[in-house]
């Protein structure tokens, strides 16, 4: 008993010492800290295990090239299991570590932290999730969607549909198959509005949680409603199920376009391989594939360290989104440091202004022509369409955006509502 107790005492002492050591080591380094929230174990873990390494690899690449204006960046990742209390805890932890910007992850987390970020003056990014109305930088000064919101995605999907159906939607039937949660329903007002403007018939088909049972809805779309085109907005396991179901009822996948979270290699694989999904159209807010300079640089960085590049690099859809998030944070910090003339201390407020100056960063086509301004935190709402061709996601369109006037009207109306 005494031995045990003594041993336990040693352990506790060692633990305490280690905590203190870690703390003091932090205080000495002159680094810029970026908080990264991630979900590697929760409901959307298929995204997190690929996206977060992409972000880290990009930051490591920047650090290996000498950092940003001579400053190293430290990205502290905390896995919040897609749970909101953990998300709040990890935010406070990032704040404690002195984070100047935070890469948020998850719609409920973004909403729960919006007020805190604004009070603490720390900018947070929410690419591809969060509230669409947050594109309004005047109303949400510290939230940066930095990529097409669900509203922009919905508008872009309609634009793509129109192009595919010969440039006219009058009298056409468009089905909207969506995951029945707030994120799934978010594009609805835009789609409804565009249905009136373009004169097409819109019918919505909700898929209840957990989203793996949609046989009836798909059959309905294909055989009763006989849709001319289908827009899907699904998450997690459900995109792959939708591909299988469309296949089963014989609906051509070339007439299906998925919003950004139904469009990864993993979804195609889960549906039975990319060959099965031939023709499937996907919206992307970052480039897909390995054919970018930054990929080669990251591989070279790993080779130089004598390591193999990680396998997740092959899942380019989410990996490249991770790179995009990392790049936007790095650019914002670069702008902030430049504005300060390169001397050390920058605050969240400086980085916020840095975000608002981002323009013309493209990473060789991996990123859209983002232009973030104090009024537009979305940076334009650009997307690209990639289509499965010959077992691969191939670029189908250039960066485009659609119906900006309709989106503007909705953002303004939403601002008035509250």
């Amino acid at each position: 008993m005494t031995v045990l107790r003594a041993r336990r005492g040693v352990l506790v002492a060692a633990a305490t010492a280690a905590f203190c050591a870690a703390g003091s080591a932090l205080a000495q380094q002159k680094e810029i800290v970026v908080g990264v929230q991630c979900d590697r174990t929760g409901a959307t873990q298929t995204v997190g295990v690929v996206l977060c390494p992409g972000l880290h690899d990009y930051i490591a690449l920047i650090n290996s090239q000498g950092g940003v204006e001579g400053h190293k960046i430290r990205a502290i990742e905390i896995d919040h299991e897609y749970k909101v209390p953990q998300g709040v805890e990890s935010y406070e932890r990032h704040k404690k570590e002195g984070a100047v910007s935070i890469a948020l992850y998850g719609t409920p987390h973004t909403q729960a932290l919006t007020a805190k970020l604004t009070e603490d003056k720390i900018p947070g990014t929410s690419p591809g999730f969060g509230t669409a109305a947050a594109a309004d930088g005047k109303r949400y000064p510290y939230i940066f969607p930095i990529a097409a919101t669900y509203w922009s995605q919905g508008a872009a999907a309609v634009k793509f549909t129109k192009d595919q159906l010969g440039g006219n939607l009058k009298g056409k039937k468009v089905a909207y198959l969506f995951y029945d949660n707030p994120a799934g329903k978010e594009p609805l007002p835009i789609l409804e509005d565009l249905a009136k403007i373009e004169g097409f018939e819109l019918r919505t088909f909700a898929v209840p949680a957990p989203g793996v049972e949609m046989g009836a809805q798909v059959l309905d779309i294909a055989q009763r409603f006989r849709a001319d085109f289908v827009i899907t907005h699904l998450f997690g396991r459900s995109p792959s199920v939708s591909i299988k179901e469309f296949k089963r009822v014989g609906y051509p996948l070339r007439k299906v376009v998925a919003l950004v979270w139904g469009s990864a290699e993993a979804d195609l694989e889960a549906a039975g391989g990319a060959k099965v999904a031939e023709g499937y159209n996907t919206l992307q807010f970052a480039g897909v594939g390995t054919d970018y300079q930054v990929h080669k640089d990251i591989i070279a960085m790993y080779k130089k360290q004598g390591k193999q590049p990680p396998e997740v690099m092959q899942s380019t859809v989410y990996y490249n989104r991770g790179i995009l998030i990392g790049a936007v944070h790095v650019e914002a910090i670069r702008n902030a440091l430049k504005a300060k003339g390169g001397n050390g201390t920058i605050t969240g407020e400086d980085v916020k202004k840095g975000f608002e100056k981002i323009k013309g960063v493209t990473l060789g086509g991996l990123m859209p022509p983002l232009e973030i301004t104090p009024a537009d935190h979305e940076g334009g709402g650009w997307v690209q369409v990639f289509t499965v061709k010959g077992g691969k996601l191939t670029k189908q369109s250039d960066w485009f955006r659609a119906y900006p006037e309709v989106l503007k009207k909705h953002i303004e109306a939403d601002a008035k509502k509250s």
Binding site: A18, C52, H56, A60, I78, Q86, E89, E92, P108, P182
Partner: protein, 362 residues
């Protein structure tokens, strides 16, 4: 706490019925209250303002969880009615309060009890099946309630405030002071956590609490000795849901937003885990469970961050920590339950009774 009971003689009924009959127990509680009152300035002094915000934020989340766990323990631990719909009642409270706060501009001291009462009303309705069914069957009935309430909130814009199903609420204000920082919210949450603890302590030793325990232990016998089972089961559901509703309101004010995705079925399961680990049918157990479930992942992560770098690179650690955290969490729960199936509360009592006669063995 560690004390002996001999030598105290009660001469009045008042003394006999006191919540803490022994002077030393009163002292302990007094010291605890003092510690909690001075904690924020103390932590701030020790660690600095921003770090203190972090530590206090953990305490804040725990305090909210304590209220919810107490409520669930009244229903599951004391009355023996299994519920998997606890998080749904939280969302009822959260949305009631958020709608009242935004649409009618009411302050928190109106919306908070209103949220609780609304949840209690819904809880009574959900509790009706408990009059006919027990055990796993009741669990499934409450599971249905969880899903139905989720669906309704998600699909009725009048409740959910639009397709995002989230309502931003203003920060709570007391005497014109807006509570924003973690330290300010700390006292706000502490006040309600303490009220919840005291109320539960008193409920479970009153006639109502005894009736709950009688129903849990043997409902037929309870009915025969004159306990109106119909009434008391519904009271249990009402009280438990009231706590859940208040928890939801506290979450809403703490986060500044009501969002139904905070209150999904996984949250219900987390709360069940809290009371099972802490100890069913015990107030202290609910508190231990809430602390354990909230704190354990954080501690495991801190531990891994400090020691993991000895073995792995940071990139590897990012991948390993979440996995280790989940498996260690599961493993520790099993270890604790094997060690003491009656939960942390029983472990604590064993420690106490050991020291009560220390240095003798009995």
């Amino acid at each position: 706490m560690f004390h002996r009971e001999s030598g105290y003689f009660k001469t009045t009924y008042m003394a006999d019925m006191a919540l803490y009959p022994l002077p030393i127990a009163r002292w302990t509680v007094g010291v605890l209250v003092a510690v909690f009152l001075v904690m924020p300035p103390l932590v701030t002094g020790l660690t600095g303002g921003i770090a203190a915000e972090y530590y206090i934020s953990i305490v804040n989340i725990i305090m909210i969880a304590v209220v919810g766990a107490l409520g669930l323990n009244i229903l599951v631990g004391y009355t023996g009615q299994i519920s998997i719909g606890h998080a749904a009642f939280m969302s009822v409270g959260a949305y009631t309060a958020a709608n009242l706060a935004v649409k009618l501009d009411l302050p928190f001291w109106v919306t908070l009890p209103a949220g609780g009462i609304m949840a209690a009303a819904i809880g009574v309705v959900v509790g009706i099946p408990s009059l006919r069914i027990k055990g796993l069957y009741l669990a499934i009935a409450t599971l249905a309630a969880q899903l139905i309430i989720e669906w309704i909130i998600n699909h009725v814009p009048w409740i959910s405030g639009g397709s995002q199903a989230s309502i931003e609420v203003p920060r709570p204000t007391i005497f014109g002071m807006e509570l924003r920082t973690q330290r300010e919210l700390y006292y706000f949450l502490l006040f309600f956590a303490v009220i919840a603890i005291i109320a539960t302590l008193n409920i479970v030793r009153s006639r109502i609490g005894r009736a709950f325990i009688a129903i849990r232990d043997q409902d037929i016998a309870a009915e025969i000795i004159g306990i109106d089972i119909f009434r008391y089961k519904l009271i249990a559901f009402a009280i438990s849901s009231f706590y859940a509703g208040v928890t939801g309101v506290l979450y809403t004010y703490y986060l500044g937003i009501a969002n139904y995705e905070n209150f999904l079925i996984t949250t219900s399961i987390d709360y069940l885990a809290m009371i099972i680990i802490g100890g069913l049918g015990s107030v202290l157990g609910s508190i231990f469970g809430a602390i354990f479930v909230t704190l354990l992942p954080i501690v495991i992560r801190l531990f891994m961050e400090s020691f993991g770098t000895l073995l792995f690179t940071t990139a590897e650690l990012n991948n390993i920590i979440p996995a280790v955290r989940l498996s260690a969490f599961g493993l520790l729960i099993i270890v604790f339950l094997v060690l003491e199936p009656e939960g942390l509360n029983r472990l604590w009592r064993n420690v106490r009774s050991y020291f009560r006669v220390w240095p003798f063995s009995y």
